[in-house]
């Protein structure tokens, strides 16, 4: 059996999925990125290597997420794709005729509109924290509620306290205020979910043609209060996939499979041995043209493994251009 690996490196979490040729998830790993994307990727590879047979055959690797580039050169990815495409592909796998994908992660959120299995519109929000997982985490801990129970709490009441949801700072001070005047925790939590949904739909969802079937994914999709709030606001059922937290990684694995079958070739994957290798990164400014690109380098076990970050392909290859040539400028 052949396997494909999907890696989604986000600012908050790093997820890996091992997918079989017949597109079944064999293993999924969900880790905190904690500011060290490559360390997280190594940890993920280790966990997979520990659970799987030694002769596991990987036929293709895809990376996505905001750290897709660095993770891609590190592991030797065959496909490096943005998270919109990856999440859309993941959702289509679950519901082939999906029209809307709502995705709320740790620090960003997005909406994807599809028609006939093709992305026709999308929007993403990476500026405001008011509609994301980290905001919910924070509020749960402030109310002294475990994040796992946070959403369930909202289902205990029909009462919702109106909370200003346009901005994280105002939402928080509003919640504190409501708490102080004696509203119950469930009502506040429900109010918080309602506000988040309103905020999401007014921001990333503005002007978007939202139609069922709707898939809700990302870390926040575990939250039952949020699911209920979306269903109430949109007036239709919202599907949450079993693997909602790792849909980007699933999409990425599917993209790798699609690409490797479209253009058959051996994978560039460096292997699971990566998990125990030493790596370090370096960077320099290319002075070859006025663009002054910042070139990043990654060394694995002391050897230059990859360079990236340039707008032209001058530094893309590691085999032919030696470090001395940096200063010379081979361009004519």
């Amino acid at each position: 059996m052949e396997y494909y690996l999907g890696i989604d490196v986000g600012s908050v979490s790093t997820n890996l999925v091992l997918m079989s040729e017949d597109e079944e998830v064999r293993q999924d790993v969900y880790l905190r990125t904690a500011g060290q994307p490559l360390r997280a990727v190594q940890q993920g590879l280790l966990e997979i290597a520990q659970q799987q047979d030694d002769d596991l055959q990987i036929s293709g690797v895809g990376t996505t997420g905001s750290g897709r580039e660095i993770a891609g050169v590190f592991v030797g990815a065959d496909v490096i794709k943005n998270e919109i495409t990856a999440h859309a592909i993941g959702a289509i796998k679950l519901i082939p005729d999906v029209r809307t994908v709502l995705e709320i992660g740790g620090q960003d959120s997005k909406i994807i509109i599809l028609n006939d299995g093709v992305v026709v519109d999308f929007a993403m929000n990476t500026v405001c924290a008011a509609g994301t997982g980290s905001f919910l985490d924070r509020q749960a801990s402030r109310l002294g509620v475990d994040i796992e129970d946070f959403g369930r709490l909202a289902l205990q009441t029909d009462n919702s306290v109106r909370i200003a949801g346009r901005c994280a700072v105002f939402a928080e001070s509003d919640m504190i205020h409501k708490q102080q005047i004696g509203h119950s925790n469930p009502a506040i939590v429900k109010g918080c979910c309602d506000a988040l949904v309103r905020n999401y739909l007014n921001n990333v969802g503005k002007g978007k043609d939202i139609r069922p079937p709707i898939v809700f994914q990302g870390g926040v999709a575990c939250n039952e209060g949020m699911i209920a709030a979306f269903e109430e606001e949109l007036g239709c059922e919202v599907f949450v996939p079993e693997y909602n937290k790792v849909m980007g990684a699933i999409g990425s694995a599917l993209l790798a499979k699609e690409d490797m079958q479209h253009e058959p070739r051996p994978t560039s994957f460096r292997g699971f041995g990566l998990h125990s290798m030493d790596y370090n990164t370096d960077n320099f400014e290319c002075e070859d043209c006025p663009n002054r690109c910042e070139i990043l380098e990654i060394y694995i076990d002391g050897d230059l493994a990859a360079r990236w970050g340039g707008r032209c392909d001058r530094w893309d290859r590691t085999d032919t251009v030696s470090v001395e040539e940096k200063a010379v400028g081979a361009d004519n």
Binding site: S66, K81, N82, E83, I84, T85, D116, G117, V118, V119, V120, D121, F122, M124, T126, G207, C289, P290, N291, R292, G310, R311, C312, D313, R314, D316, D331
Partner: protein, 369 residues
């Protein structure tokens, strides 16, 4: 007089040539970089438009290196877009910062005041004969036209280059050569050579090329330093670009032909925009809408560029969803200011090109089946 002027796309190639031929010393502002942007944003009003901030930062960079620059030449305007008022705001700020000695020559559109326009032209001519002036203008103009032709070719071939960055290198070389060219023949020769070199670097079109139109506000459309070099990024993603406004189009409409009240390309755009935006709203607002309508069938998608708080483009952005729906053409609006991050823009562009490519394949399959 030591003269400088705002940097915008390839404008400097022609303008430097004209001013030098009129006997002036010219300082071309350095390329627009993040530093230019930060410098401008630091001194400009917070919600002033992005082009104004860049302009200001660019002038400050010039003064830092060349404190003896004593004249700024720039275009004016009569509203309602803020562009026409830039020089007043910039003049005030630069005076506060100790550059009050600078003479400003502002080319107001003749429509505003013909007399004033002629006077400002006169201020730039120091003893040259009419014949000399005409020759200088002719050479400068030919350079701009040639650069536009070259850039249009770059927009197309970058999607097919075999070596990433090759088209950009050839383009940069052409800019330098063109700046130094001093006869019409030389200009034509450089143009021919460059176009030939560009043809030689591409591989064959595999039929999978995505075509993207770029519409929107003039400055962020034409100046790569303002739009985080998205033309290059789109090219590397395999997308051919059709930009609706080039330097010479803009110059024709706003400076040269304005007094004839003749729009070289505006008529069609206006007609096409009418069902969605039935009035001029300043700047390129109506043209952005009109171009989208006109190009809907010729391209796979439209990228609409605007500076944050740009009034005309906000109006355009407001009506764009209807155009996109009626003509079934995806539109991606990107808003730029000093806070815009390159990573976010690149992810959106990549996702957009993916979207267009998949749509295209789907349509292809359907038409075959």
């Amino acid at each position: 007089m030591k003269i400088t002027f705002p940097r915008l796309g390839t404008v400097h190639v022609g303008l430097k040539s004209v001013l030098e031929d009129l006997g002036h010393e010219v300082v071309v502002p350095p390329r627009i970089t993040e530093e230019t942007v930060n410098l401008g944003a630091k001194h400009a009003p917070e919600t002033a438009c992005f082009p104004l901030k860049i302009n200001l930062g660019s002038f400050l960079e010039v003064f830092r290196e060349h404190p003896d620059v004593d004249m700024i030449v720039m275009a004016g305007g009569v509203g309602p877009c803020r562009f026409g008022y830039y020089f007043r705001t910039e003049q005030d700020i630069l005076t506060d910062l100790g550059y009050g000695h600078v003479n400003w020559v502002v080319m107001e559109p003749p429509r505003g005041n013909l007399r004033q326009s002629l006077d400002s032209l006169g201020a730039l001519n120091d003893g040259c004969s009419t014949w000399q002036v005409a020759a200088a203008l002719r050479l400068g103009w030919r350079k701009l036209v040639a650069m536009d032709d070259i850039l249009k070719t770059v927009h197309r071939v970058r999607a097919h280059e075999t070596q990433r960055g090759a088209a950009s290198r050839i383009f940069r070389a052409a800019v330098t050569q063109m700046e130094n060219a001093d006869s019409l023949q030389e200009v034509d020769q450089i143009a021919r050579q460059t176009l030939r070199r560009l043809q030689n670097i591409c591989r064959e079109d595999d039929g999978d090329t995505v075509r993207v139109a770029i519409v929107g506000e003039i400055y962020v459309s034409m100046e790569p330093g303002a739009n985080l070099h998205i033309e290059e990024a789109l090219g590397y993603l395999g997308a051919e670009i059709h930009r609706t406004i080039m330097v010479t189009d803009w110059a024709k409409e706003n400076i040269l032909l304005d007094f004839l009240r003749w729009d070289s390309r505006g008529k069609d755009h206006k007609e096409a925009a009418k069902p969605y935006l039935n009035h001029f709203v300043g700047g390129e607002g109506q043209a952005s809408v009109g171009s989208t309508v006109l190009l809907a069938d010729a391209v796979d998608g439209v990228v609409h560029l605007m500076p944050f708080t740009c009034m005309p483009e906000i109006v355009a952005q407001s009506v764009m969803p209807q155009v996109s729906k009626d003509y079934d053409v995806p539109v991606l609006t990107l808003v730029f200011d000093e806070h815009t991050g390159r990573a976010g823009v690149l992810t959106r562009l990549e996702a957009f090109v993916d979207l267009l490519r998949r749509r295209r394949r789907k349509k292809g399959q359907r038409s075959i089946g």
